[in-house]
Symmetry: C2
Amino acid sequence: MTPRPPNATAASLLGFLHDGPMTGWDLVQTAEARIGGFWSLSPSQVYRELAAMAQTGLIAAEERGPRERRPYRITEEGRAAFAGWVERVPEAETIRFPLLLTIGFGRHLAPGRLAAIVRRHRAVHAERLAGYEAQRAAWDAAGGAPTPYAAATLGFGISYERAALEWFDGLPAEIVGDGGRRTGDGAS
Amino acid sequence: MTPRPPNATAASLLGFLHDGPMTGWDLVQTAEARIGGFWSLSPSQVYRELAAMAQTGLIAAEERGPRERRPYRITEEGRAAFAGWVERVPEAETIRFPLLLTIGFGRHLAPGRLAAIVRRHRAVHAERLAGYEAQRAAWDAAGGAPTPYAAATLGFGISYERAALEWFDGLPAEIVGDGGRRTGDGAS
DNA sequence: GTATGATATTCCAAAGTGGAAGGTCGTCCG
DNA sequence: CGGACGACCTTCCACTTTGGAATATCATAC
């Protein structure tokens, strides 16, 4: 019952609940859409944090709706906890990039194999960038992003993916293979 | 005793052990220097993985040297396990960037507070970039990087940090504050 | 010799992760 | 009408990871 300070996942849920009561499933969807790009979380984590916060009074369950849907609303204690969290200097980001491990140990791989792996990863980044840019274009068409804050987080995603693609395209022949320079893939 | 497939941390240790026997501490240092930038790990993880791999025969402990130092060497089973790991298509990277959460919830913060937080984070990235570029300069001065693989992983760090800095510098006044545009910080 | 600090390793409680299982509801077809 | 199916929504749990505290060893200075 002693409300330990919320972790970043829990605090984010509190943040979303400022806009009104939501069920666990609503929050799963919202979180995926709004912060999924730079904060990984799974449904079970969402439900666990909700249960814990309901225990400690940061949120309160309203009566159940249809299909076990149980809306939660944020309490005053929850608002206070969120305010305390958002005020703090956030920690540095953590990146875990397995592909860089594979490249770092590249001398243990057949050149063609490494090139194939790199190509697959490049495609993933190209796709993500396309998704982000589509989002930005949609906002532009609608007269601007909902908030400058949303625009900033999306902007990070775009900067990051562009940098990644440039890095991919600058890799040397030892890694992408001599055949990797062919003109396909893009044009045509 | 059934050697479950090594995770990325364990596999990296096996990779380093290809260059000869090393103690746990050596590996802590090596890992921090070689993969610390894109693969977070702590000393206790290194020792735990070493103990587990010694159990399952992927590495073997040699007799102790001075000061409890216990060198491990890779076994044939270990080489096989590493070869199997490095051959796989690595997973997508995971990024957890708490600062973006704070910015995303920026409307709940006083503008000056958010600006101060952002400025602090920018400084961290500037410092990291400087470190990476110093490394690259040192390699250039010495006639090139040790391997194209090391050059590629360092190159990613440089691309990433440069992109981050450009993103910081493109943030709007709502986030960095109107006073954030002052010319200080850099020149002078 | 002993205090101090850097080196080196172990241990463990707590948190996080992901997947399996279970329950509820709409809908489609016989 | 009813029952099978699949999508939706939630809970549970075993396993892994994390990071910090505790411990031990050695070098150096005083």
